[in-house]
């Protein structure tokens, strides 16, 4: 088991190195001189003083050979120093920190809604596979998967904010402003969680201990609640962590629609404003979080399932 864990972590580090290299090469690929861009962003006059540019280049280490520059940049990045954002002049790492809290809140709210609907729905479908309820749930799941969240969002705004006036249409200021974006974001994980729950519960409900529980005289609902759900929800836990990782940086469109100062919007604005340090930091942070959570989930999965610990643990 330790071997698997070590392998995964080694791969993770390798992957992060590649991602960092990609991020480091961005300014070169986009053909802009960081020193000039920084000076321009500080609002200096259009005609830059060549001496000033040269001084800043030296200060930034841009006169060093490229591999050396990368090592310096990487060394700073590992310590969380991605430089200052061009737009806000704040350290990138602070911006990312506060955006992450917002995105995590949003992602957890969305996933909570998703699980709250998916567990009962998937269980109901699994009680009689191929039955009428199962067919209805399958149709619902397919519908949910096909709904673009950036379409659901304006529809929700139209109904709940503009017509009913019950909820705010955008912004980030307390519990009421979380509801609509979380709802829009929850629709797809809800569909996948339902599928996963259904499949897991069908397996579980066929297990001998369920028959044994039924034979002891427990009613079907009692059996499901006491024995079924506990085992049937294990795969959902794994999926939960994966979705959490992807929603942390991946809910760009919803964050833009609802003007939520989260990770996705931060990253999006970095691109629009050509804010290179923010872009680099954001990309590295999102990818690092996503693949770290993924690797942890992988390792945890093996820890939870002793049967996977054999020599052939892939």
């Amino acid at each position: 088991m330790w071997k698997i864990a070590l392998q995964r972590v080694a791969m993770l580090i390798l992957m992060m190195l590649c991602v960092s290299l990609l991020a480091f090469l961005v300014p070169m690929a986009s053909g802009s001189d960081p020193a000039r861009t920084i000076l321009l962003s500080h609002g200096s006059d259009l005609a830059l003083d060549p001496a000033q540019v040269e001084a800043l280049r030296r200060e930034l280490g841009l006169d060093q050979p490229l591999p050396m520059q990368f090592l310096i940049w990487l060394g700073n990045a590992v310590q969380g120093d991605f430089g200052n954002s061009f737009a806000s002049r704040q350290p990138v790492i602070h911006e990312i920190g506060s955006a992450l809290i917002v995105s995590a809140t949003l992602a957890l709210s969305a996933l909570a809604i998703a699980v709250a609907v998916a567990l009962p729905m998937g269980t109901l479908a699994a009680m009689r596979p191929g039955g009428r309820v199962d067919g209805g749930v399958t149709l619902l799941v397919q519908t949910f998967v096909a709904i673009p969240e950036y379409w659901l969002a304006p529809i929700l705004i139209l109904i709940f904010a503009l017509h009913l006036g019950a909820l705010p249409s955008s912004g980030w200021f307390g519990p009421t402003s979380v509801i609509l974006p979380a709802l829009a974001l929850s629709i797809r994980p809800m569909a996948y969680f339902t599928q996963v729950t259904r499949a897991a519960m069908i397996d579980v409900l066929n297990a001998p201990y369920i028959t044994a529980a039924r034979a002891r005289g427990l009613s079907m609902p009692q059996t499901v609640l006491r024995h079924g759900l506990r085992n049937g929800s294990i795969p959902v836990v794994t999926f939960f962590s994966l979705w959490f990782a992807s929603l942390l940086g991946g809910s760009v469109v919803i964050e833009v629609i609802f003007a939520i100062p989260g990770m996705g919007r931060l990253f999006y604005e970095a691109v629009i404003n050509k804010d290179i340090p923010l872009l680099q930091g954001g990309f590295v942070a999102i990818v690092a979080l996503a693949i770290t959570i993924n690797t942890l989930a992988d390792i945890l999965y093996v820890v939870i399932n002793p049967s996977l610990r054999g020599a052939n643990g892939r």
């Binding site: 596979p129 399958t138 673009p148 379409w151 304006p154 529809i155 992807s246 760009v252 469109v253 999006y268």
Partner: protein, 297 residues
């Protein structure tokens, strides 16, 4: 059950197993859920409208008529007009061509790359399998929107950037699936037999190997196609794909945002187009995947 009986009779007797009017297509449809046929019809219609539509109706998606702006649906403008008085239906048809083509291209390229890598991993094994599958594990974790935005930052927005970005993360599910299938098929006796009989690797690959992959891969392709469509729409929504004034479903949705209250049709129409297209391909994929007459799950 019924299908099994017909199949076994077909295998044992020499008389024509299929009565007139019950061709292979009919038999195949008989084992599918009704949504498969519905999805096929809907998706076929959408494709026909997108391909032939402009030739039939000769509507101009770019023609502005500022007096007729933000009009509700009518006989002249089937889905109303937008903020510049342009025909929403005409723009929907024109825009769909972009959205569907980009999604389809990125899915096709992803399938080719993913299946090749997956089969290689499954048949070669060793370090190639180990490394490629670890890369798949990690790439799958990264949200595709983030990769797309990052690439747009470097190369600028446009069709090609969009397709490349979607392919970078898009090939991974096919690689994982086809590796699994390859391992399964590899263990089959008929592959062993073919090898013993001295058939070449290429012959085995084409005659015995690939046919086993077609059904599951095409099912996943349709399922993923719906997802890609939504991602493409989302990226255009953010202004990272097709550039205005060219219409595109995501772009139309974004442009409709300020007029949400006055002209909701402007927002509903392009979203509905993405939704129905995505739903129809999901139904096709689901239908290919699951045989209604064999409830195993």
């Amino acid at each position: 059950m019924a299908a099994d009986i017909t199949l076994s009779r077909q295998a044992t007797t020499t008389e024509p197993a299929t009565p007139p009017g019950h061709g292979p297509l009919r038999r195949f449809l008989g084992t599918r859920h009704w949504t498969f046929a519905a999805g096929s019809v809907i998706f076929g219609t959408i494709l026909a409208v997108l391909i032939l539509g402009p030739a039939i109706w000769s509507l101009d998606p770019a023609k502005q008529d500022i007096i007729q702006r933000l009009k509700p649906p009518s006989g002249q403008y089937w889905l109303g007009t937008d903020n510049l008085g342009r025909d929403v239906f005409a723009r929907l048809v024109e825009g769909g061509r972009f959205t569907v083509t980009i999604a389809a291209l990125s899915v096709l390229i992803s399938v080719v790359i993913g299946v090749s890598i997956g089969i290689l991993a499954g048949r070669l094994g060793g370090w190639f399998e180990e490394i490629s599958m670890r890369i798949v594990d990690l790439l799958i974790a990264i949200p595709d929107t983030v990769i797309a935005i990052f690439l747009v930052a470097i190369f600028g927005p446009g069709h090609v950037t969009l397709i490349v970005a979607l392919t970078i993360v898009g090939w991974t599910p096919y690689a994982r699936l086809s590796r699994g299938l390859a391992l399964q098929v590899n263990a089959m006796d008929y592959i062993r037999a073919a090898e013993v009989l001295g058939m070449t690797r290429r012959f085995i690959l084409i005659r015995h190997f690939l046919p086993n992959l077609i059904r599951p891969i095409s099912a996943v392709t349709f399922l993923r196609f719906g997802h890609k469509l939504i991602t493409v729409g989302g990226l255009s929504y953010l202004g990272l794909g097709v550039q205005p004034p060219a219409p595109d479903w995501g772009l139309m949705l974004a442009a409709a945002q300020p007029y949400l209250d006055r002209a909701p049709m402007l927002m509903i129409a392009p979203g509905l187009a993405i939704f129905i297209t995505a739903l129809s391909v999901t139904w096709i994929g689901h239908g290919l995947e699951i045989d209604r007459t064999k409830p195993k799950d």
